[in-house]
Symmetry: C2
Subunit: 169 residues, 2 copies
């Protein structure tokens, strides 16, 4: 419990929460175990759960070009990165507050253990405790806006590359 | 006042707020007037204010390729769209909670009147009223994640276009 409280407070999502608020989050989380090579979430599928790694390593895979997201391990997919508990990694947090397709596939590369939180329990908690809800949604807005900035930069780089290639061809 | 309450409730940012909560938002907003052709915010500059159009029309301009954002009206910039009060448009809302560069230039194309909200007043209000803070940051997280989804789709389209061109050349 102490270990999990410490771990949750290290995540960006739950940063600046009090120990009591973290305990409330833990009370709606359940521990789930996955064996090696299991898919935790699949790109383009619906999802209403979020995961935090407690033990083990996962691989985050994201399609870079259009195509069937189920086609595995071809040039259309690219392994982005491997993450373990020391990265304080959280997956699927957007699923906590709205029905959105998963933007990446998460697969275990070792046996792994996660905390799983469901949207319905999470929203029940934040609706009942506005101070907690305010803090977590403040963090969520920051996390998502950081990703948006990164995505905007990528778009500009890609458009620039395209315009250079088209000019030269 | 009644008109402004109605208008604010039509925005995605302040949707589902009570009339009392909207009145609190209005109490920290000030009305500002701009003449035709004025720049409200400039891409790539810092900003800690948000604007809601009350009257008039603006143009939203965003660079599509890398380059000097100050170079105006060349092929590097593209007019995205014109917006007026009937669009319930809000600009710069990310500036309400963190120090981020503006992602577009907003320019008036008529005389225009806005509500302006500053980050410091906004955060003072949400820190004092967690229920209000929870609701607004919930909306903010949704707004930003909608934009992120759109940006991710753009990235995949651009990468696909690039890969097709590179394969054929």
């Amino acid at each position: 419990m102490e270990h999990e409280i410490a771990l949750l407070r290290e995540t960006e999502l739950f940063s600046e929460l009090t120990a009591e608020q973290i305990a409330k989050i833990l009370s709606i989380a359940r521990k789930v175990n996955f064996s090696e090579g299991q898919i935790i979430m699949r790109e383009a599928e619906d999802g209403d759960t979020m995961y935090i790694i407690l033990e083990g390593t996962v691989e985050v895979v994201k399609s870079l070009v259009m195509g069937d997201p189920d086609e595995e391990a071809d040039e259309k997919s690219k392994v982005f990165t491997r993450l373990d508990a020391s990265d304080h990694a959280v997956f699927g947090e957007v699923g906590l507050f709205e029905a959105m397709k998963r933007t990446a596939t998460i697969k275990t590369v070792t046996q792994a253990r996660f905390l799983e939180i469901k949207r319905s329990s999470f929203l029940r908690l934040t609706d009942a405790d506005h101070e907690l809800g305010y803090r977590v949604f403040f963090n969520l807005a920051k996390i998502v806006s950081g990703r948006l900035r990164k995505a905007d930069e990528d778009t500009i780089k890609l458009t620039t590359a395209l315009s250079i290639i088209l000019r030269e061809s």
